[in-house]
Symmetry: C3
Subunit: 378 residues, 3 copies
Amino acid sequence: MSTSVRYTNNRPAVSTAEAMTLPAGYYTDPEMFQRELRAVHHDMWLSAGRTEQLPEAGSYFLVRFAGVNIIVVRDKNGEIAAFHNTCRHRGTQLCKEQSGKVAGKFRCPYHAWTYELDGRLTGAPNMEKVEGFRMEDYPLGAVATAIWDGHIFINMAERPIPFSEHLAGLDKKFAPWGMADLKMVERRVYNLKANWKLILQNYSECMHCPIAHPQLNKLSHYMSGDNEPPQPTYLGGSMDLRPGVKTMTTDGQSNHANLPGISEEDSRRVYYYAILPNFLLNLDPDYMMTFQLWPMAVDRTDVVCEWHYHPDAIARPDFDPSGAVDFWEMTNQQDWELSDRAQEGISTFGYQPGPYSNREELLTGLDRWLLDRLARHG
Amino acid sequence: MSTSVRYTNNRPAVSTAEAMTLPAGYYTDPEMFQRELRAVHHDMWLSAGRTEQLPEAGSYFLVRFAGVNIIVVRDKNGEIAAFHNTCRHRGTQLCKEQSGKVAGKFRCPYHAWTYELDGRLTGAPNMEKVEGFRMEDYPLGAVATAIWDGHIFINMAERPIPFSEHLAGLDKKFAPWGMADLKMVERRVYNLKANWKLILQNYSECMHCPIAHPQLNKLSHYMSGDNEPPQPTYLGGSMDLRPGVKTMTTDGQSNHANLPGISEEDSRRVYYYAILPNFLLNLDPDYMMTFQLWPMAVDRTDVVCEWHYHPDAIARPDFDPSGAVDFWEMTNQQDWELSDRAQEGISTFGYQPGPYSNREELLTGLDRWLLDRLARHG
Amino acid sequence: MSTSVRYTNNRPAVSTAEAMTLPAGYYTDPEMFQRELRAVHHDMWLSAGRTEQLPEAGSYFLVRFAGVNIIVVRDKNGEIAAFHNTCRHRGTQLCKEQSGKVAGKFRCPYHAWTYELDGRLTGAPNMEKVEGFRMEDYPLGAVATAIWDGHIFINMAERPIPFSEHLAGLDKKFAPWGMADLKMVERRVYNLKANWKLILQNYSECMHCPIAHPQLNKLSHYMSGDNEPPQPTYLGGSMDLRPGVKTMTTDGQSNHANLPGISEEDSRRVYYYAILPNFLLNLDPDYMMTFQLWPMAVDRTDVVCEWHYHPDAIARPDFDPSGAVDFWEMTNQQDWELSDRAQEGISTFGYQPGPYSNREELLTGLDRWLLDRLARHG
């Protein structure tokens, strides 16, 4: 018989660093997730898609995430509107397909309540004898919309903050890229097993780049560039392309012209902006990439990733975006794996908050922003 | 750069109509679902099946839904009894197969506790030395049963209301159809992603028929017929067959004789009765259809649908029920889609209660019935 | 029309027996499950594996169950250590594969925080400017380990009870079997739909053997042998082999020599010990079997089952463990079916606590042990 024992000194964690990561519940507790949705996603401007997805009156697509189902539609005046996808009669989901085109009106498949593209109820069969019933009292639940250079934003709040306050000058800053003109050439959807904040954190520091993204680090040094101080509605910064690198692609080269409006200086940089809470915007010299983060559950997030190019580039017979698509597909997979592993580790009994480095200042900003929002929304 | 914004006036919902649909929680909250089970399904008579499913002593089938597992069995006296499917020793599930035949007794596979078909414990190995233990104290947990013209009902309550009170005269009303004689020729099981009440609502109004069921509406006009006022244990009414239509089939025709006992008047009608909470009964001139609704979760319901014919019709060499089976398969699918879409829409952040029309009087009755039951059962 | 009703006398359950099984919540309530994990699995010594699984420095395997993820590793001194599998920086899971070998250190894949095999943090890139940060404050979360004759145990408590107190003399008792020398020849993993306690209960009485295990009962009479009184850390007893039976195999025979150290008396017996809460140890004359029970959810448990033999037996050209493997595979399946059916029956509305027989004294001991632990851990 032989036994040997190794006891351990499980001292309580010390917090010698100033800024520590959040306790596990912020990443694992379904009730906290609901609180966050109310304080963040039900209150802020969310990226919903691009205006090119809605070519004509009646064109629509759906925005679906945890407990939310919204129709984004182009109305008869060419404006873009958004409505909760639930009939005001008995709640039936009006549109079922992810995108499509309705013939002038939304018609509920159940009892044919009919709504104009601007949300007004104009048909309610068999309601004529209901005392006091007036169609004008039952429009579709409206969701605010805003357009910024082709990007559609929606806001479910009763009184949304002004959209200009949300953009906080980014519209001016990024005007030279001419984003309104760009067209999507590729879309990939990813299903992550990670809390939405972990994906934002992953995006908001490049300390992990030399370890997890050796290919990216060859194109753009992780210590290059600079971050803006954290803002109430966005976190962002830029990184410099290394000498000889033209853009972010598998080999760092490109046969596309740079976007027409950008400066010489910006042709040597890539901008990475997280517009809170669900929009990531990469601006490269010759293309734009967008990410939408859709929280599905406390430990599940869907990410929609798109590549957008200038129509002149797309029109060339030798147009080929695969250098950028393949590069980011590889980089995305590296990042999703890390986010999933962060979720896994944080979800275990052994997790305890850890110290942020001073190179993670955007992450401490993100945590403060979240705690502040949760506090203000009770 | 270009931005455009469309703010919305998200006024709180008005309730100009008298009767409004229930708040979302009644369809989405797992705790409400448990409250409903206690107040409704654990207290009321439930349709369990047909006597023909139990041809001889020892024949049994199981009734399984959210947290419930009951054996319905024919005992040695030919009576139909029902018991909770859990051994009184350590709780083991006694019968595993959905239906079958036991050889005279139920014998627990774990420690061979043995119960007669009337539930009495008559074998309990190794219990002889347990002080005070008496087999008569540990019969199977009994569930009340009742038979109505071949329909088996069960009731889990400690003191069930009299079954005659539950039927409230329907036995007399539907006696002419001779349901006891009918035989099942087809069974289909459907798994809906909808709360059980949405399926009852769908069944209890035909306002949706011209929109969702054009084929049905051709056979039977949705405004025809009449509803009874809502009753404490059932909701129902009839619809008239259009001229030239013989019964509810794909083409409205049939080569079966009408059921022998029905009146000339009833040969021109179809009766649709929801016997609360889980039994839907369609009586056509030449056949009977039954639906059982089994709540599985707040947003999941299994529906068992059966077609029953008179033995004389079945005996004919040219017997073919496919006209009725195909017609209702199509109609069922149309209805299940609507119920699932109602669940989907009600489950979203944008749902708010809406106004009932005066043609939905059975639905307001259903809501009142539910609220009353919940109030009485604390 | 015909109706017949059978009312029932649903008397409240009587408790004539002294010892009754636990209420359903102990087997079905997710919150109770969390309480149990805290009171039992986070506090007690758990079987984790065998030292032979860690042949050299850097060899590791993971222990994963509900909310727990632990690395068990051999360090550079040849000692076995264990750590929570979560980086002290941002919580990332360090090791992903179920087992493997790390090259001298654990390196987080996210930001390259690097830990020695003894858990010390020795690399934390980009932390140098963080005021007050000291690497010695952020070792991996340590988990106590102990070795007993080749069995590795771990303990997550802050102040584990002494391992010798846990073994409570079993090390001395089972020394003759020379378990440290044995080698694993077969491993099977089973996913049960049952609460972990039901598997312990199933193991802790053989009253069910003549009913569920006729083959086993032929080798070893269920009334033979004797149990020790229940102990705070284990439950166990032995059963006698029937005349002519050499060991527990399909035919009761074996061409292996008995384990070298055991007595003549012990060559006629099999020992069955449940070392609480997760380790089952079968000692046969010529082999050892081990079971680890890993609670995954209130109604899910994974069981890892292994067969271990003496190296001399394994070295023989005609070595063949299939007699024991096949016998226990059959017996396991019989038992898992019963445990799953117990879970199923206990989870239904009809379950009520039932009386234990006096041959289930280890089960009443188990219940008392659990209630006592829950009481002490608030």
